[in-house]
C-alpha cells in the first residue's frame, strides 16, 4: 500500500515543505495515544467502579470504528511490538513529535466511554480515561495536550467532567464523537456548550461513531472502508444540526473543531446549506447570517485526511474556496494511516498558508494552548481570568 509515484520535482517540493514545517515548529491538532485497556484504567477508578469492572469482566471498550489490527488504525511502523496502534510514549515522541519539530500536540483518546449506554458508567470511565491521559501522557511529556473525553448521553455528567478537567490547563478542548445518538445541535446538549464556551474550550468533534444509530441514513454499510468514507457525511449532518439549531447564536463564543473529518467536501456543503437557508430561513429565524459565514467564524477543520483531488492546483482552489488560512489546522492524525513516508502536507497546499495552518490558527482555536503547563496534581484553581 503505497502513495502514488512521485517524480523528482514532487520530491523536492515535498522536502522543501517538510523543512518549512519543521522550521515553524507546528502544533499537531490530532494525535492519538493508544486506547487504554481496562487494566490501565483500573488505578484511575474509584473502589466501586474498580470492583464493577473486575467483577463483571468489562474490557475491550476500544471503538469499533478503529479495529486495532486494521490498516486505518495505524501505519505498520507506528505500532508497538505487540501491534498496538500508537505503541508507547517513546514511539510517539520518535514518530509523531520529532519528525516535525512539533512544539505541541493535542491527544484525542478515542475510547468507548463515549458510547456507553449507562450514563453513570460512561461518566466514570470517561473520568478514568482523562485521568489516565493526564498521568501517563501529559505528565510524562510536556509537549502534549489533550481533549476532555465525555459521554454526551448525560449533559449534566459531561459538564461536571468538563469543569473538573478544565482545572488542568493542559486540557484544551472537549471531545465528542461525530456519530452519536442525538444530533449535536439539539438543545439537550446545550449545557455542554455553555460550559465549554465559558471555559474557552472548543468542542472537538472527532470521526467515529457510538453505533447508537446506523452509520448512514440508508442503513449499515458492509465494509470498514465504507464506514470510514461515510464519516464525512456524518460530519455534514452534524454541522447542519449545529447551524440549524442555533448553537452559534446561543453561544457566540463557542468554537467547534472537526477532527479527522476531511475538508474537501466543505465548499459544496456550504453552498448548499446557504441555498437552503435562503429558502427556509423563516423556519430557523435565529440563523441570522448565512451558514457559510457561521462556519467561517465558528468552525475549524484538521488537515488529515486531506481527501485531495489528484491535481495539486485543484486542491489549491478548494483551499481558496474554504478560506484555508482561517479554517485549517495542521494535523498528522498519528498513528492513523492517512499518508506515507513524510508526506503529511499534500501537494498543492500553498506554502504561504503554512504559518497560519501550523501555528497561528491552532493557537487562536485552542486558546488554552498559550497557557504554560502546570505541574501535575496542582490544586484546582479558578480558570476565569487566567492570563495567557
Amino acid at each position: 500500500m503505497t502513495a502514488p509515484e512521485r517524480d523528482a520535482d514532487d520530491s523536492d517540493q515535498a522536502d522543501e515543505s517538510a523543512a518549512r514545517l519543521r522550521a515553524l515548529k507546528p502544533i499537531d491538532c490530532d494525535i492519538h495515544p493508544p486506547t487504554p485497556v481496562m487494566a490501565e484504567l483500573l488505578p484511575y477508578l474509584d473502589d466501586h467502579w474498580h470492583e464493577v469492572m473486575v467483577s463483571r469482566g468489562i474490557d475491550g471498550l476500544g471503538l469499533a470504528s478503529y479495529p486495532p489490527g486494521a490498516a486505518l488504525s495505524a501505519r505498520p511502523e507506528w505500532r508497538g511490538a505487540d501491534g498496538r496502534p500508537g505503541g508507547d510514549l517513546d514511539l510517539l515522541r520518535r514518530e509523531a513529535l520529532a519528525p516535525w519539530n512539533t512544539r505541541l500536540a493535542i491527544c484525542h483518546c478515542l475510547h468507548g466511554a463515549a458510547a456507553m449506554f449507562s450514563e453513570d458508567m460512561g461518566a466514570a470511565l470517561a473520568r478514568a480515561v482523562n485521568d489516565w491521559v493526564a498521568a501517563e501522557w501529559l505528565d510524562r511529556e510536556p509537549l502534549l495536550r489533550a481533549s476532555i473525553l465525555v459521554s454526551p448521553r448525560s449533559a449534566e455528567l459531561a459538564v461536571a467532567e468538563i469543569e473538573r478537567c478544565a482545572a488542568d490547563p493542559r486540557f484544551v478542548a472537549v471531545l465528542l464523537l461525530a456519530g452519536g445518538e442525538m444530533p449535536l445541535g439539539r438543545r439537550a446538549h446545550w449545557p455542554i456548550y455553555a460550559a465549554a464556551a465559558r471555559l474557552r474550550l472548543p468542542i472537538g468533534i472527532h470521526a467515529g461513531s457510538d453505533f447508537h444509530n446506523p452509520i448512514t441514513n440508508v442503513g449499515w454499510p458492509s465494509y470498514l472502508v465504507e464506514d470510514y468514507v461515510d464519516q464525512a457525511v456524518i460530519f455534514q449532518h452534524q454541522l447542519l444540526s449545529l447551524i440549524g439549531e442555533g448553537v452559534f447564536t446561543k453561544f457566540p463564543d463557542l468554537r467547534v473543531v472537526l477532527i479527522e473529518s476531511g475538508f474537501t467536501w466543505l465548499p459544496a456543503f456550504l453552498w448548499r446549506a446557504t441555498k437552503e437557508w435562503r429558502a427556509l430561513r423563516s423556519e430557523v429565524p435565529w440563523v441570522d447570517r448565512s451558514p457559510a459565514e457561521i462556519v467561517r467564524e465558528h468552525v475549524r477543520v484538521t488537515l488529515q485526511p486531506t481527501d485531495a483531488p489528484p491535481a495539486p492546483e485543484d486542491l489549491a482552489r478548494v483551499m481558496e474556496q474554504i478560506g484555508a488560512e482561517r479554517l485549517l489546522l495542521f494535523s498528522t492524525d498519528f498513528p492513523h494511516w492517512q499518508w506515507d513516508g513524510g508526506a503529511v502536507l499534500p501537494a498543492g497546499l500553498p506554502a504561504r498558508l503554512l504559518p497560519r495552518i501550523a501555528v497561528e490558527t491552532p493557537l487562536e482555536t485552542f486558546p488554552r494552548l498559550r497557557h504554560p503547563a502546570v505541574p501535575p496534581r496542582a490544586p484546582a484553581i479558578p480558570i476565569e481570568g487566567f492570563a495567557p
Partner: protein, 137 residues
C-alpha cells in the same frame, strides 16, 4: 419613464395586490398599510413569478426557540424557492445588498387630475370622483 394608471385605489385595499401588465412587463402593485408599492413580477433568483407569492410577516429571533413575528404582510415570499423580499424596498431579506427585485415608483392621484392626461395608451377608465394608483415605468 412614463406614468400609467393601473387601478383605482378602492381596487387594492390594505393587504391586497393587483398584477398589471405595463410596458411589456408584469408588475405587482401592493397596498401595505395604505401605501402602495410596485415590484417586477420576476424573482432575481430564477425568474419565478414573485408577485404571486404569499404575503407573510417577518419572523426574527435573537434566540433559538423564540419566534418574533413582526411586520405582518410586509414580506413577499417567492412562490418558487421561498426567498423573502421586503415589499417596500424590493430587497431580499437574506442578501439585501446583493439581491433585490426591481421596484417602480407608485403614487396616488385624484381622478380630476388624471382626466386631463397625458397617460399611456393602456386605457384605464378614470372618473373625477375617485383616486387612482399611478405607476411609473
Amino acid at each position: 419613464m412614463t406614468r400609467h394608471v393601473v387601478a383605482s385605489v378602492g381596487e387594492i385595499p390594505p393587504g391586497g395586490r393587483k398584477l398589471v401588465a405595463v410596458g411589456g412587463r408584469s408588475i405587482g402593485v401592493f397596498n401595505v398599510g395604505g401605501a402602495f408599492y410596485a415590484l417586477l413580477n420576476r424573482c432575481p433568483h430564477q425568474g419565478g413569478s414573485l408577485c404571486l407569492g404569499e404575503r407573510v410577516g417577518l419572523v426574527l429571533s435573537e434566540e433559538p426557540g423564540v419566534y418574533r413575528y413582526t411586520r405582518p404582510g410586509e414580506m413577499l415570499r417567492c412562490p418558487w424557492h421561498g426567498w423573502e423580499f421586503d415589499i417596500r424596498t424590493g430587497q431580499s431579506w437574506c442578501e439585501p445588498r446583493r439581491l433585490r427585485v426591481r421596484t417602480y415608483p407608485v403614487s396616488v392621484e385624484p381622478g380630476e387630475a388624471l382626466v386631463k392626461g397625458p397617460y399611456q395608451a393602456e386605457t384605464f377608465p378614470v372618473t373625477v370622483e375617485a383616486d387612482y394608483v399611478v405607476l411609473e415605468v
